[in-house]
């Protein structure tokens, strides 16, 4: 009787393990399918439409009518808004991260943490709508920009959107430092600020690098919030307030009008593939930064 029970529970044990392993394997399968399918679809620009890769990456002319889907404008647009966002949001996020870890009293933590969680939860379109109704008119009235749409509007919206990522990860980076570092510095007579700048910041650098890289990843992939405020003009940004377009916004803008199998559709899938490659490169960077820390 007991033996039977034991055998049954052993069988249940093995069954459970099998199911769990299958679930874990499904993640690999999903990633492989995504990578394979997008690589296949995204390279059709090059082997079906015979458009050279170098031209796709570096040509500023995006014209399907002329058989010339150059994506340089969108690549530069993505680089520009991402740089804008990380230049503002990066230092700000790290500063708040250090505040949460080193300075904030418990009560401040209890207010700030849920606030950041709410910021994570606010949908992309709501950020876009806020940018559209608040930021764009503000830029229109206070600068020479005729429409208000453009690089600056998109950059500010993105900077706000990456804040939670940068704050949370940099706080983790500071918290994971051994307390002896801080205690040693304070015991030698350094002030809290000196300790932060000269001891904690350098020691946490790889963790902070991860925070920034994942902030960049979020900025590169963000779509609708910036699509609503960037202006969606196929031109290089000529200044902070110039309307332009990014890889993600171009996909959303033109995909609804692209028929299955058309050159336009192929070009948009190539851009999606490029975004995928950027994401993978950033993930490898994160791994590299973490290994350096270990």
């Amino acid at each position: 009787m007991i033996a039977l029970e034991a055998r049954r529970s052993r069988r249940a044990e093995q069954f459970a393990l099998g199911v769990l392993r299958l679930a874990a394997a499904s993640v690999i399968l999903a990633m492989a399918a995504l990578l394979g399918y997008l690589a296949y679809e995204g390279t059709k620009t090059f082997y079906v439409d015979k458009f050279p890769l170098a031209q796709f990456l570096f040509s500023p002319t995006f014209s399907v009518d002329q058989n010339h889907p150059g994506a340089a404008v969108f690549i530069v647009g993505t680089l520009a808004v991402t740089t804008f966002a990380i230049v503002i949001g990066g230092p700000f996020g790290i500063a708040v991260g250090v505040f949460l870890s080193e300075i904030a009293p418990a009560r401040m933590n209890q207010i700030l943490k849920p606030a950041i969680e709410v910021m994570v939860g606010i949908p992309s379109v709501v950020y876009g709508w806020l940018g559209l109704t608040l930021l764009v008119p503000l830029i229109r009235t206070h600068t020479s920009s005729p429409s208000g749409f453009g690089l600056a509007a998109a950059g500010v919206v993105l900077a706000i959107m990456i804040l939670p990522t940068v704050i949370t990860l940099s706080e983790d980076a500071f918290r994971s430092l051994p307390p002896a570092l801080k205690e040693g510095s304070l015991a030698l007579g350094a002030t809290r600020w000196q300790t932060i700048v000269r001891v904690l910041l350098p020691s946490a650098s790889s963790g902070l690098a991860v925070a920034l890289i994942l902030g960049i990843a979020r900025a590169v992939g963000e779509t609708l919030a910036i699509q609503m405020v960037i202006g969606n003009a196929t031109q290089f940004p000529s200044g902070l307030f110039s309307p332009t377009a990014a890889l993600t916004t171009e996909i959303v803008t033109d995909m609804p009008g692209a028929t299955e199998g058309s050159q336009l559709e192929h070009a948009l899938f190539s851009m999606a593939l490029l975004l995928l490659v950027i994401a993978m490169v950033l993930i490898v960077c994160v791994r590299f930064a973490l290994r350096k820390r270990a």
């Binding site: 993640v27 505040f99 379109v125």
Partner: protein, 306 residues
Amino acid sequence: MPATGALASHESLAATRSVRGRKIADMAATVVLWVMASSIIVMLAAFIGYMIYLGGSAISIPFLFGTPKETTAGGGIGPEIYNSFYILFLTLAFTVPIALAAGVYLQEYARPGLFRSIVQFSAESLATIPSIVMGLFGLLVFVYLFKWKFTALGGALTLTLLNLPALMRVTQEALASVPDTLREASMGLGGTKWQTISRVVLPSAIGRLTTGVVLVAGRIFGETAALIFTAGLSVPFNNPYDLDPMRPAETLAVHLWYTHSESIVPDVDRIGNGSALVLLVMVLVFNLVARLLGRRLTRHFTGRDA
């Protein structure tokens, strides 16, 4: 000697001055950091206040429960709210079991090795992929390959892929927070590994799990980019509250984007303001529910405060 004495006092004066300088720098930095951190709270409060100011007047019974209009003013968002919840429900029905199982495997069973590193690398990569790229993948698979056209099911499956890594991490972190002494006690009493996990570890982790799941649910509710090309931009005309998963299902977040960028109704601002406010309120509700439910479940199953 007087000379050295003078020198010493001079040095100590310099030291005092630099100590004062350092203290001032320290205080200034502290003030700046306080201001920066507070500005986040102020900004968020301003956002919420502004959205209430903009959208408050748009909210009404006909708006919340009415059907959208194609060309005339006065359209509502009833079917869109329904679709948001419908797709959320479908997505969770797929994501939660898979993420739970995979998370339990990684945290409780898997030994360091090739399989675990590949699973973890896949999950990390999947988590970093932009949602628009995931949307295009969904378009390729569900719309082109399976020939489903735009469907609620296709949208939900795309969101499953998008949110699987986040929920796996939620599971892993919840399990990691369960003290090993509980596992040892269960095994010591003769429980098998699976019995230990299903009857001891998971109930202890349920509070944190629930908090995580509800927070992710809030994100699924507001997801847009992955749904435009999978669940579509329309609701069934004659039966907007259809339960059939194989029909187009425009969600509220998608509706907000669509109204702004594509539609030709004259009251775009009213619909946008109202929809944005409803989305924002839902985010707050999800956050609140996550906290309260998580706390209550933890207390119920473990007798401890979370």
